[in-house]
Every structure is written in C-alpha cells, then in structure tokens.
C-alpha cells in the first residue's frame, strides 16, 4: 500500500516552550479518508500547519507522495490543498476572484469550468460576485474549502471544515468530499463531530498532548479497541463490596443509578458475555433488564484521551 503521507518523529516546540508535538509517527495511506482526532490543544492543528508550511517544525521528517516535504516544497504544495481551521478571507476581493487568484498563485491558469463547479457545489454561485466581507461565516468557510480545491490537489487536509456550517449543508459538503475521495483524492480530516468521522473515514489516528495514541483502520479500532459492556438494571441501587469487586475483577464492575455495568472482552472472536452474566446473577440475582452497550468512536476517543496511554 502506497502512502500519501509518512510522518516520522515530528516535533514542534514553540518559542514559549510549549511542546505541541513530541515525536509523532503517522502514515496516511494514499486514497484513504483519514480522521485525525484529538481534544483541543492535542497538536492536530500544529501538525496540519507544519504540513501546510505555515509553521516550521522543530525536527522530524515528512514524506509526501514519496517526496521529501521539506526539501521539495514546491512539488508537494502543488499537490496539497489545505482548509485552515480559522476563517480567513481577503477583504479586497469577491469569491470568484479569490479562486482565480488562488489558482494562479499555484501556477495554474484558472480553470473557469472547475471554478464554477466548485462555486456551485459549495453553494456559493449566488454570492460569487459579492465582496468576501459580505459573506456569512458558513459561506466564508465554504470559500476556504473551494480555495483548497481550486488547483485540484491529490491530498486534501481539512482542519475542522464544518464548524459553524448547518446540518443540511454539512451533509452535502460531506457528499462532495466522498465523491472526491472516490475519485482518488486522499483526505485527511480533523473534526469534533466524532460520529461524522466514524461514518466517513476509513482510517483514524488519535493524538493527545502531542503524542500519537493510536492509528489504524476505523474498523479494526472499533473491533479491537472498542469493547462492549453488559448493563444490568435492578429495582434498587446496588453497591459493589470488596468481596464482589474481587470476584468480578475481570469485568471492571461499576454502578450508575440502579444499573450495574460490566466490561466485556473478546477472546478468539468470542465475547465473555455468558461468564459476566452468570457472575452478575450469582452476586445480585435476576435483573429487571439486561442490555449490551457497544462502545462507539466517541467512547473509544474519550477512554484513550483520558487515559493518555497507548492503545
């Protein structure tokens, strides 16, 4: 499998001493729809800004489509489109002109047909002649997406592109991104909408405090790391005595209101559901209701970033 991006031991220490990245290693397969997740201040934007050449790294290497990103910047930049997290717009020009200028700065004669298609797909056609100052926040963000795509890059990085964009429009935007991905464009995405990442992305990496916690396919993350729990509801609240705690040590028992929650594990592809259920029966008797709760990306994300440990 070829990689769009191979990041090795990337570090960044800002002048104020803040260590934003502490030796990140990451591979983004070519053609993937890759989610880069992490809480605020995890180092995601620093990583993206280094790739975009708006921040200098302290050390490390990045290979971009087989080329060294730092020594062959021009080659790499011509094939990379970045949607920055912060809204930015040139107050002197209208969207259509901004796209023509952006295309020209990439050394590409503006492809007017493509520019019109971008304006149309991002629902900016009606506003293409207005000054960028007259656009709403959501429109400005869509303009940023158009700017990143105007030179038809092979790899697109989107740093929280849907913040402030309404639900309907967000869905259409993702539809467009899916099409681009299907036509071979590699997409690296950061977002706070984890259900979106789960739905769209085939690969996922989670970083926290400048370190990579995990990077794997979305399916394997959810299969292997994402575990499930057995939830037993009783008529009254149960307490977990020291004795019971020892007996159920394998299931990390915990309570929540009238519920008892036991963690399930997979072993050789089989869940230990039956063992957990029998053990609960022995301790507390029959429950009013029994449910199995699967961990989703959000639970995995919270568990990994709160533990801070490598998965």
């Amino acid at each position: 499998m070829t990689t769009a991006l191979t990041i090795s031991q990337l570090t960044k220490t800002y002048k104020n001493g803040k260590k934003a990245l502490q030796g990140v290693d990451l591979s983004v397969p070519e053609g993937s729809f890759f989610a880069l997740l992490g809480p605020n201040g995890a180092g995601k934007s620093t990583l993206i800004n280094i790739l975009a050449d708006t921040v200098k790294p302290s050390s490390g290497k990045v290979s971009f489509l087989g080329h060294d990103l730092f020594s062959e910047r021009r080659w790499c930049k011509q094939r990379l489109g970045v949607v920055p997290q912060e809204i930015a717009f040139d107050p002197f020009f209208a969207p259509r002109d901004i796209l023509k200028i952006m295309s020209g700065m990439f050394g590409v004669q503006p492809d007017l047909k493509w520019i019109e298609e971008l304006l149309n797909r991002l629902e900016l056609s009606e506003h293409a002649h207005k000054n960028a100052r007259q656009l709403s926040g959501g429109m400005r963000r869509r303009l940023l997406v158009a700017q990143a795509l105007v030179h038809k890059p092979k790899v697109v990085i989107l740093d929280e592109p849907t913040a402030g964009v309404d639900v309907e429009l967000r869905k259409r935007l993702w539809g467009f991104m899916r099409e681009l991905n299907a036509s071979g464009t590699t997409i690296l995405l950061t977002t706070h909408y984890l259900e979106e990442a789960e739905e769209l992305c085939d690969h996922v990496a989670i970083i926290n405090q400048g370190k990579l916690l995990t990077s794997q396919s979305m399916k394997s993350l959810l299969d292997n790391v994402g575990s499930s729990s057995l939830v037993l509801e009783y008529a009254d609240a149960k307490t977990i005595s020291g004795d019971i705690k020892n007996k159920l040590a394998d299931f990390c028992p915990r309570t929540q209101d009238n519920k008892v929650i036991l963690s399930l594990k997979k072993c050789d592809g089989h869940s230990n559901f039956n063992d957990a259920y029998q053990a609960a029966l022995a301790c507390w008797g029959e429950a009013i209701s029994v449910n199995i709760q699967d961990e989703d990306l959000e639970d995995v994300f919270l568990r990994l970033t709160h533990n801070g440990a490598s998965a």
Partner: protein, 253 residues
C-alpha cells in the same frame, strides 16, 4: 520558477491598491497639492541658496519622490499587516511560491503604485511649474530603486509588526523622520556643516537628491557616488527580504 504564480501575486497586490484609489492615489495627490499651495505662498519667488533655482521648482521633484517612497512603503507594509490580521497570509505561505518570487511580486507592485502616484502628481502639478525632464535615466533609476528600497522596508516592517501599533511606531519614528530630514524641503547646503555630514548617512537623501537632479540638473551629491550608495542599498534590501521570506521570519514561528 513559478512565473505565473509570481505574476498572479503581483496583479493581486496591484489590484489591491487600485481597488481603493481614493486612499492610494487621489489622497497623496491632494496632500502634495496642499503642500505646494502652502509653500508657494510662504516662500514666494525665493531662490534656493547655492543651487540657483526657484524654491517652488526645487520642491516639486522632492515631493513627488517623497510620495513615491511613502506609497511604496505603504503598499507592502499594509498588505502584509492586513494579511496577518485577517489571517490571509497563510494562503501565500501555502502556495508554491519561493521566497524570491514573493519578493519580486511584492516589490514590483510597490514600484507600480509608486510610479502611478508619481505620474498622477506630476500631471496635477505640471501646470504650476516650469520644471522639465533633464535626465530621464536618473528619474527612472531613482524611481525604481527608491520604490524597491521603500517597498522592501515596508515588507520587513510588515513582517516584524505584530500590531498596527508596532507599524505606527516604525512609521512615525523611523520612516517619517528619515523622509522629512532627507532634503525634500531644503538643500543640505543650507544646513550647518555637522548636519550636512549627518544628512549624508540618511539613505533617503540620495534618492531625493538624485531624483531631483533628473529634473533640475543640479544636486547636492556627486552623482556616481549617489548611484553606488543607492545601488548597494537596493541590493541589500532585496537580499534581506529574500532571506526573511525564506526563513519565514515572524510568520512561521
């Protein structure tokens, strides 16, 4: 070289000032006319001592050059400053443009604005004066080098400044004093000897004097010495800008 990208950046920087003509072209012309009205009546038909030219004719080339220098400085410094504050600078950094291409595009736009302002000023002032072109090559040489030096300084000021306050500091305490004390309003020969020497350390003095020489055929400096100094200052400025863009000074920290 990404010549098309360089051309696009140049046209962006030129269109930016053409989009706000009132502020960038009409306002400097009006300022210069007001200076002339004030000095015309204050000085009357007085001659400049030692140079034997009417004070009014002496003043015009200096004012035009001063306007060129200020506009070249404003074009680059304001673009970079607004770019920083509006976060638009990232698009420049993300584009496949090398440091030298960015330097060339910004300086070429600064020259364009300075020349447009100069032509407008000369056209406005022409009916009031008898000056004419004596040495076209001198006028062109000092217009272009002056715009490059000031455009380059504007670029460095834009990169250095984090706020409009920083920019105002540089403008009010360095650029304006150097411009006013460069011999726009007086011949250095009118100054006491010590100040004449001090004036020779002001690079702007050579630009004003050389440009004026192109119109009046008289000057306060030795032309070949002035050309050498201005050429060195121009190359140094371009080199500094190129290196600063290359390292991303105060932009990519």
């Amino acid at each position: 070289m990404n010549w098309y990208g360089c051309w696009t950046l140049y046209s962006r920087e030129s269109r930016r000032f053409l989009n706000v003509k009132m502020q960038t072209i009409v306002a400097p012309a009006l300022t210069a006319v007001m200076y002339l009205i004030v000095f015309r009546y204050a000085m009357g038909d007085r001659q400049v001592p030692n140079l034997d030219v009417p004070y009014f004719d002496f003043l015009i080339p200096g004012l035009v050059m001063m306007a060129m220098m200020q506009n070249a400085f404003a074009n680059t410094s304001s673009s970079i400053m607004v770019g920083k504050l509006m976060n638009v600078q990232i698009f420049l950094m993300m584009a496949p443009l090398s440091a030298i291409e960015i330097t060339i595009a910004f300086l070429a736009a600064a020259i364009t604005r300075a020349v447009v302002v100069a032509v407008v000023l000369l056209l406005v002032l022409a009916p009031f004066t008898n000056i004419h072109i004596e040495h076209l090559w001198m006028i062109l040489f000092y217009s272009i080098t002056g715009s490059i030096i000031m455009g380059g300084m504007g670029m460095i000021a834009g990169m250095w400044s984090k706020t409009f306050d920083d920019m105002a500091l540089l403008n009010n305490f360095i650029i304006i004093p150097l411009t006013f004390l460069s011999g726009v309003f007086y011949s250095v020969k009118q100054l006491p000897e010590t100040w004449q020497v001090v004036n020779h350390f002001n690079p702007f003095f050579y630009l004003i004097d050389g440009f004026r020489h192109g119109f009046l055929n008289v000057g306060d400096t030795d032309p070949s010495q002035a050309i050498a100094i201005v050429s060195i200052a121009t190359l140094t400025t371009v080199f500094a800008c190129w290196k600063l863009w290359q390292t991303g000074w105060r932009l990519k920290d």
